[in-house]
Symmetry: C2
Subunit: 371 residues, 2 copies
Amino acid sequence: MAASKLFNFSAGPATLPARVLERASEAVRELRGSAHAPHAEGIGLSLLEISHRSADFTAILERATALCHEVLEIPSTHAVVFLQGGASQQFAMVPMNLARTDKAAAFIDTGVWSKKAIRESKLQQETLVAASSGDTGYDRIPAVPELEAAKTSYLHIHGTQWRELPQVADVPVVADLSSDIGCHPMDFSRLALGYAGAQKNLGPSGVTLVFIEREFLASLEAREQVPYFFRYATHVEKQSVYNTPNTFGVLVLQLVLEWLRDEGGLEAAGRRNREKAALLYDHLDASSLFVPHAQPGHRSLMNVRWSADGAPEAEREAITQRLLAEAKAAGLVNLKGHRSVGGFRASIYNAFPLEGVRALVEFLREFEARA
Amino acid sequence: MAASKLFNFSAGPATLPARVLERASEAVRELRGSAHAPHAEGIGLSLLEISHRSADFTAILERATALCHEVLEIPSTHAVVFLQGGASQQFAMVPMNLARTDKAAAFIDTGVWSKKAIRESKLQQETLVAASSGDTGYDRIPAVPELEAAKTSYLHIHGTQWRELPQVADVPVVADLSSDIGCHPMDFSRLALGYAGAQKNLGPSGVTLVFIEREFLASLEAREQVPYFFRYATHVEKQSVYNTPNTFGVLVLQLVLEWLRDEGGLEAAGRRNREKAALLYDHLDASSLFVPHAQPGHRSLMNVRWSADGAPEAEREAITQRLLAEAKAAGLVNLKGHRSVGGFRASIYNAFPLEGVRALVEFLREFEARA
């Protein structure tokens, strides 16, 4: 498999387990192990060629849904659906479904993704930025202020990793979990609605996991002008087959969750991810050339950002470019920071191996010694 | 490959060319032949693991777009984008983008898909059914009546195959091409907007081809309450990477269009599809047991519907079930009609082989002789 040759720090679509890629590749040739083939025989058709209403695909969809509850620990009080369009589509769908004329939506602004969601929200409803870490370059998670339930329809959070999901009395919480889901145990019972584009920790691009508390869904104000297709109720009622889902994406998600379960579930994933992240943050904290972006206590286990700000300002850009080129030559690829902020970013999602982090730390040590 | 064992008449996701499945399967293990690997070497990573903004994926996206113009003959006056959510999402997005307060949208009702789109349209705007073939069970394409341009924002068509796309003076035409695109040459310059879920003739589920005339897009009334994510202008401006597209779906679509080009393009596809369809319709027309659904002159080359209505009414259901079971045992799978109408349906898209149609006709002949 390809994974042995390169360490891929891509922020998404991101590294997937070699075993998952192997089985997904097989399923594109011929699907096996379905309802029709309990002995894991091939069904004679590619996964890409079978109806989303076939018994074979229904078995995949049901297994993927069950694994979301079992492995990701989404409570049984919440319905799970697989939609399309990623988190960006959810930024529009959340206000379409949750906006109220008598209340405002509150956001915690933690950076680029919050801004994109706030922009969509403002088109549709009164929108309040309840707290922001923008004044310090989004280097932390701001404290959640008191919110008045009578005036707040919901609280929407994004971006930089929350160690603990917030709880606000009588205000439903909505979370963009794209970067975090599956990386360690989280108490999803605190959320009215959670969503995640799969392309970071769960699978390929083109499939979005959405879960919504059934009681909360039932309590939503009917908004008759919202297209049926963009109502959560439509997809919950039809259990993800109101229309044709991304069948390949759902299969890969199922395979990723089976892998995660076999590797010990969220507890074990959390241990592995804390070990990987600590290795890298400890090195960055000790370096005189590199400066980690997020403050201790506010650091993501999944996306590690840093800069060469220890160097004189005039040299930083040249050092950054040289590091990226040398890292690539050494098989450490996709370390460039997001185009909006620059610097470096190492995305080290669940499937990213510890030896890749070790190789990066060793490379950074040697680079700094030579610089 | 699996395709040699079974003939799969699924209406979608549907049969894909064996060569495409082979290459798609390879790309899930390791992508090759990209901008970084001009000699078709592997890049060391799975397609599923690379960023949608990487040079490798950008090359795929650009090639897929170019092939839509070259092979599908979408005019250069029209912008091509790859969205998600299938035709069902377009049923909602079309009115979001095209509705006008001073005009009505006109539909030609040709069956289940029209109904789904009309239902979405009615939520958003004045909606007029200009013609319907519902009174004869949707067995034909109704004539398009005169439409007053001053009162009609656009004409929306669906479903059963149109031999020629309609033209109405000064009224933009919007077409759901999910079943037809790529099956024979069509004059897309007649359309202001066309769309197709890929899972029938173009690739896997989870990617939607949309093309829109640039002048028409520029002329649309600004509707400020429409979410940015659901505006065509957003995706045209960002050339399909406003958000993360279904990267695997776009690759498979590219491979399908390369296959279609290598097989002689739309002219040759039209010849092959006419031959396949004629073989089946001729047999059904001559049969005393089977009754084809659509009237001559209104028949789809892609989806052939028929029933056992030549049998006494009391026996039809038993005959239908027996035929489906025996066909499956003979390797002719997924012949069951749409759950809303019953009977039989053979979807014989581009990648469905002539020998599969021959095998079906032979099976039907023997079945009828025994019946």
